[in-house]
Symmetry: C2
């Protein structure tokens, strides 16, 4: 998402379209013409086109010559690809973060996210749980200090969003995630880079396998 409150029409178009994709207002496999979207967002075609190109590069849509912009359905194969990457990238982040030594503020933010996951689980609020989980991962990656790592994982996390949301209610109570996060936090505090990496790698690998198993089980191949 673009940070500020929209100064430019370009950012406005990008944010609007991305939000529509993520919350399902733009359906996968359906096509949307530049003109339609421009009218809807109240900007001209130029910024819409700009946004479409950007979203295409981010892997959320394909722009097809005369058929408009199509929201890419996410397949099991895509999720497999992405989790292969996240399973090496996020553990790297954990390792780097541990090595760097984090400020108390950073650690506290991650602890708050973890606590929020636990609370959400008690309330049975799966959406909050997922948000807090995402937040933890985002903070961890940011703590690595590697900007490109932040950018890359952010992109993949966005692509996974729909699949995670779709499988949220099908998965067994994800209580072990909280423990994993706490274990990683412990390693980060004590500067145990190797431990952080290994624990987080196992955490990510398990998450990937679980997600893919769920998608396969429910034949969800066009989210």
């Amino acid at each position: 998402m673009t940070d500020e409150k929209h100064p430019s029409a370009g950012a406005k178009a990008y944010d609007a379209i991305k939000a529509m994709i993520l919350d399902g207002r733009l359906k996968p496999s359906a096509s949307y013409l530049e003109t339609e979207l421009a009218d809807q967002i109240r900007v001209s075609r130029t910024p819409v086109r700009e946004a479409a190109l950007r979203l295409e590069r981010e892997g959320l849509v394909v722009v097809r010559p005369r058929r408009g912009m199509q929201v890419l359905p996410v397949s099991t194969a895509d999720m497999a690809e992405i989790y292969q990457l996240l399973t090496v990238l996020e553990p790297l982040a954990a390792e780097l973060a541990a090595r760097r030594g984090l400020s108390e503020a950073e650690l506290e933010a991650m602890e708050r996210a973890t606590q929020k996951m636990q609370d959400a689980l008690v309330d049975g609020d799966l959406v909050s749980w997922a948000e807090a989980d995402d937040m933890f991962h985002a903070l961890l990656v940011q703590a690595s200090g590697n900007r490109r790592l932040v950018e890359a994982t952010g992109r993949y996390r966005t692509q996974v969003h729909r699949a995670r949301m779709a499988t949220l209610t099908m998965r067994p109570c994800p209580s072990s995630s909280t423990e994993d996060h706490r274990a990683v936090l412990h390693c980060l505090r004590s500067g145990d880079a190797e431990g952080a990496r290994k624990i987080h790698a196992a955490h990510r690998a398990a998450a990937g396998e679980l997600l893919i198993a769920l998608l396969a089980k429910h034949s969800l191949d066009n989210l």
Copy 2:
């Protein structure tokens, strides 16, 4: 690079600008106005702007409000970031490729690239050597079968291009690279995923350290 011969002005602008950056016609830290570039490439500002935005997303330039498009100098810190990523991404590719089992054609292409490296070394042709080395890595990543991995590593390889070229003549004769590549190829042939990953990880880690040491030694921080 965009595959085909330019049907669209957008692709033409992108290819032209990217080529100018990579071969140094556009100098880092210098600024170039949309209009200048448009005149030079003989297209209007629109496709130039499109290309600039794309190149910005790819991390090659920054577009600054009234100062034009600035080619990003690559710093030692950038190289450190990128090598951290390549050091986990490419070994993953090696592992996946070994696991998948490659066709004879794929293996042969990689062998040809390795041979070309060796020949170039004999001839003392460092530019060919670098090209062949790049080719090997590109083929390896493609062999992983993970499209996102191909895209990501390709992007980083582009960003590293200038630094590699600058340090090409300073580095000690890189004869061990050929051996490393052969060792990886051996693992790929025999399906030794773990071996391929480890050897390639060591290869990449060494390359990163070497590059960064060279940059530091020669105080090259604004390529």
